[in-house]
Symmetry: C5
Subunit: 387 residues, 5 copies
């Protein structure tokens, strides 16, 4: 479902596409609908439920058929990570809500995507709504997908919009192969590891944008065209979308790091501080890029004005040189009758009349050329050719 909502096409083709219309969409209830109404899209994937249960010594991965199948795991001392992918069945989701004792409004936020990222504290549960951004395969666009976390004492429930992509695979591998310290920690560290994966997913995207801005910096000065303008606007627009995803997540990290919820232990808060730092870095880079593109727009406008100046100069040089000459040849094209009066255009009868006329024209043209040369106009005109 998300690729219909968020798929960003390559910059060059995208402006004509319909999909990008929804880049700034939010889910909203039909006005007047009951609070807690779940909105299931028809083409959404059916939910797949995967449970990973691990402790320091063992790790199990089970594909569950029903939400109720995870009940036995929830209160055991081992960490149970229930990962639901796909929002295609209201029945399954409602039963999931019952299994985890979710407030109807929380279930609504989880299912009716996309929501604004946030964190809410329900005594024995911590609910986190996050947005995951991932570069696509061609590295020219990104997807945004909502991931919801329900953190309990011994379990973590994550709900993703659809099953195809996520940035959690490295964490699964770390659990499976017992790499790092993840199996020594509890649910809080798992939450950190997944959140950290989400935040880190923004960096490769920003790197792509950094490269595009670099390309535009050249383009905007050497050869600004209408396409350049579109590209700048597009980058600004997409950075705005990224900022909307990451900005509220800063508050999430900040709250996790500072507020001492009994579900987050102090030794994991040190890790969350690192996660918070990364969030600040992402925001910092986005703001810097926005300032750069804003500067690029100024440079673009100036470059366009500069181009106009040079076009006008060329027109002025050519017009100014030839218009007086055309006047001179017009004079000697007049038909005043020399026979009627000796005053009528005697020049036409002079022996050196025609050469003198050319001399006059060459002198006029040279004077004007010298005038423009003194003002340095030709430098720019000749430099134009080299581009």
């Amino acid at each position: 479902m998300y690729d219909k909502l968020y798929h960003n096409l390559p910059v060059s083709e995208a402006l004509e596409e319909e999909e990008e219309v929804d880049l700034f969409d939010y889910y909203y209830d039909e006005p007047g609908s009951l609070p807690g109404t779940l909105n299931i899209e028809e083409d959404a994937d059916p939910p797949s439920i995967v449970l990973i249960d691990y402790s320091e010594t063992t790790a199990t991965r089970v594909q569950l058929a029903t939400p109720e199948a995870c009940v036995p795991y929830l209160d055991s001392e081992s960490v149970s990570w229930i990962d639901v992918q796909g929002l295609g069945s209201e029945d399954v989701l409602q039963r999931l809500g019952k299994v985890f004792h979710l407030h109807p409004l929380i279930l609504e936020d989880i299912v009716n995507v996309p929501q604004r990222p946030k964190i809410e504290d329900y005594k024995d549960q911590l609910v986190i709504i996050a947005q995951m951004a991932m570069l696509n395969e061609q590295e020219d666009s990104f997807w945004i997908e909502q991931v919801s976390f329900v953190v309990g004492k011994h379990y973590l429930l994550t709900v993703q919009e659809e099953p195809e992509h996520d940035s959690f695979e490295p964490v699964r591998q770390r659990i499976r192969h017992n790499r790092g310290t993840i199996r020594k920690h509890g649910v809080d560290y798992l939450t950190y590891a997944l959140l950290d994966g989400i935040i880190d997913g923004f960096f490769p995207i920003l790197e792509v944008y950094g490269e595009r801005i670099d390309q535009l910096e050249d383009e905007v000065v050497t050869n600004p065209t209408r396409k350049t303008l579109e590209k700048i606007y597009r980058i600004r627009r997409e950075l705005l979308a990224l900022r909307r995803c990451i900005w509220p997540q800063r508050e999430t990290c900040s709250k996790l790091m500072r507020d001492i919820s009994p579900l987050i232990r102090p030794d994991v808060q040190i890790y969350l501080r690192d996660c918070y730092d990364h969030t600040i870095q992402v925001i910092d880079i986005i703001e810097t890029y926005r300032e750069l593109t804003s500067g690029l727009m100024d440079v673009y406008l100036s470059s366009v004005s500069n181009k106009m100046n040079e076009i006008m100069k060329l027109l002025t040089v050519i017009s100014s040189i030839f218009i007086p000459l055309t006047f001179i040849v017009g004079v000697y094209g007049m038909n005043f009758d020399h026979d009627a009066s000796p005053l009528n255009m005697p020049e036409l009868e002079w022996y050196f009349g025609y050469p003198a006329c050319w001399a006059l024209m060459i002198a006029t043209a040279s004077g004007l050329v010298y005038f423009f040369w003194r003002r340095g106009w030709f430098e720019n005109v000749s430099s134009l050719k080299d581009e």
Copy 2:
């Protein structure tokens, strides 16, 4: 009355209409008037008073003739929702004020519409002034109407500007058909349900604006005209009006959600948190749209400059090619007398004079065309045709 104040016509016709003048109007007292003076508009609808009284088991709907008729309901344990629509009678409104023991300044705020949204806490009453925005039937404009809430222990008084439209119908249906949990809760939940309906009413409007901005994004690059400019300005202006409606409502929700007034019970505060999230979303979208339109204005300006550049290029190409040619033909239109001197225009007597002249002109024109082609000017000119 409100349609005179706020009716937004379809974008294409609106700039000529007089009604939109009042989009940013506020009610203000005639300077020096007594505090508490009620201002009744002559053409306002007479107030209609509808009482809906419900408990978990029963629900009654009564059309009341006088404000005093609702007194018996006010202190009963059941929830009494008194909905007044229309502000056309000072007498009825004053009596209403007496029945509900309203402070004269509160009554003034309720009657002298529009006021800035706010919430005030009067010990045993909570007064909320809100602005309700509704898309009209053609989906091309919106209405804004003031709704005032007086929340008591067992009653809710709502006062609307006029009887024709509101976004409360779904709530009435939920009460009537006992859908959801509304009849299990008290006045606080009813207040939430109505406020939620008001906030949710902003989303369809914003969706319309989102689509308009998308259309403008195409228009501004491919075919920017004076109309485009008007549309951008109009959208900015209307977003400004929406922002003024919703911005102070954020504070209302925030206060309801946080301050523990005995009239709002903790279990309803969870719902109000949801309502607050929606308000933040609305503000967030409005700000994003404002940034987008601000970017559109930049793109518009650049597009106009680009167009000028292309017009100038065309003029320069045509002028630069033909002005030298015209000079050449002017030269051979001169009347220097060949008889008077062999130096006078011998070219005219040459056997290949005329072909040589054409050859010169063709060479000149080709040289200039090549010069412009090298600089890539023709690409743009030819692309212009395709639009």
Copy 3:
């Protein structure tokens, strides 16, 4: 005196006038002068002192000859409002300072107008400096005049710059005719009533500006001229002046409403809350208008560019059509001697030479017209005529 300082002339004439120079003036001490030095302008009106003394049952109005004459009233239980108008006598003002035990710096702030609005708390006195704005008779400009309040337990001293205009007359009428509840309250309510009158005086001014902005919105799109630009700049400038008057008054109201000074009783604080709301509304409208004028400036710039585009298009169309034609007729104005060579301009001898030449010219012109018509240039040109 104030009209010399602040008088705003009608927009159309004002830019040439000298008076508006002082729109942003502030009084400042000659550097190095003694603190507490009073600066009396020579042409200032002599102070007139009017005492209104009232209780719930009686109300007296006395014109006092000397400041000392009000001493007997100050400590009586009735409310004594001493209204001084005009700052033309240092002696009277110094004696006034003694009667009311004013700190020299306070007296300086009262007399050396204009000062920045503020509120200061001196144990048994509350000093408020406010700026009163009033629309003039022609409704095309406004005056700003400083009003200072000294609030005591049983008295209120107000000092106005000059005697001619104020917005206090309705309050005097309410006291005289015992309208509303003013005579039932004390000094604090009187202070509220006067402050409220000052704030309400901003609304009619803002209404005038709202109308001007509406007019400009039409003008800026349909017929932007240099005058339009001046008007936009002037409105921005005057809104800036209004904002400087009202912005610090917000703090005054806020402090009065929140800080529990024993001089302001709780039941009057409810009224001050209303006053604060109005101040916020005024600031809100000013900010909205400033955003609108800022948008208007953008539209103006775009309109000017658009106009230039259309002028250029016209020039380009006419030049592009006639320059090639003029070249053609130039060709056949050449004097190559047909007798010298059969190759020299045989066209001139053709039987259909002249009609063929016209056919060529008409074909050329038609081709160019079609080219411009395809690009839609004529639409704009023809629409230009209708304006």
Copy 4:
């Protein structure tokens, strides 16, 4: 020394001068230098030390030869004001530091000018770094000079950059002639009086800028030239410099006014509140001026565009009228041979041929003139002449 650093030349000449380069200079340590290193400029004036010792009854003024000479005065009950002018001797300054027990970093801040204004509290000393701005004699530029205050229990040490100008003379006169209450107060009041003099010194400068902005407002609309642009930029730049001087001083006043240091007594804090108000006024005026100049820049850009429009209109009118006429006369300058064919230009043989040609041309020209007149182009062109 300071005039080399800060001297602002008259606007018209300044851009070429080298001195203004340092308008935004700050002193900084050579990276890696020892903290507390004093940097003595070679051409700095040698320090002159003047002691003014006064109590309510007596006042003495002594020119001291060495810093140590003031030791006997420091602990006496009378107020001792030691005023050092000139920073030209490291030895004297080091000894001064020892006499007053100054921390090396404080001495560094006093000597290595200019520093950012600040206030620091060292138990029994209060150190204030301030910037004094003074209008020069021609009233077309201003100087900035650092003044440092060391406030002790019975003494005040002030250190100025150079001896020629200061704004302290009125205070010296007040002490000498026992004017006002200065001799009745202590060191704290003296500090206030000097700080107040510094703040008040900004007002005449701002008045000059207010007048310049007024002049520019006319100039920018009626006759915008390149010089206008330079002037606007220059004013913005100088307001920026002023803002940097005054902005941190606001914090100084605020701290003095609020924090109860035992060195500042409550009755002087009332005076400091006044001083704080003036600082706010200065900042307020500077910000207003900055907004005005920013608006002026917009108007300037628009005026330039308007001028271009009018130039283009003129060119278009003249070209559009004469180019078709030139085509017509070109037609009848063609040499098609009437003898070869009766179709070849029979008009030339008509009896009324020439008058008919003129009639055609006059009709064409009139039609075009009417077309432009209908569009109102001539109004602007004629109004142009009047300027």
Copy 5:
């Protein structure tokens, strides 16, 4: 390694270079990598470890072969400064982490450069990440290099990216030659001295930018070219990079100065206050420069428009004068047959026909010249020559 990342080339060549691409780079973890993974660049310099151990009486400098070699020094009462330069060996860095008991995340921040500057408090260690900026030899660009501080009770560990440059040499000299008070203080003063050196390193860079801005101020008014635009954009971009380095360091200084960590003694906090002041100054200057360049961009745009105006004026003057003249000579080049009718161009037969024609043309031209002269157009054109 850092010169690949940050090296800023001279302004004139830089836009073509690839290196500057990374000016805004941040290190980020490969998404999904283990927290604490060290990323060693292949071409990084191998770490060199230098220990400087000093007390008031002695100072030793030792080049250490292994990280473990410094263990004996760490707990001695003397101050041990371990300076590691180069990040080229994971093994050495890991062992370093063990010796100093560094948290894996801290080690990651130290090694995976560049990180955002920050300060973190780990009970008995204070970790500071800072960015050091240094002017290069040609004084036309700057380097940025990360320096990490680990402050313990008796030791300071600093880790620099590479061994070639640092701004710590003066501090080493002060320790070696026992200059100033550095050997009398502890680790906290050493930390201050190094941090101060880092901050002071920004000033020479800013001085270079101040000079560039001064040059641009001239250039932008007298001779704005495309290069000017590039330079302004480049300066803005580089100031943005500097701001990102210094802005978070302000928080570092602020925390060190205020929060009473037992590792920082009160007498050193006075020095840190000085360091904080310098940081504020650097930020202040950067912001001022950013405002100035933003103003320069406006001036640039205006100058370009002004130039266009002058080009257009020249074109208009020349076209307007010669086009009517060309029309006149065209008239008398027509071939109406005088023989066919006496009305056909009798002027051609007049005795004074030709001189009269010249008189007409001279009168026309003079009239137009007078018209333009009255409007003051020639002033600008002649002033153009002088440049």
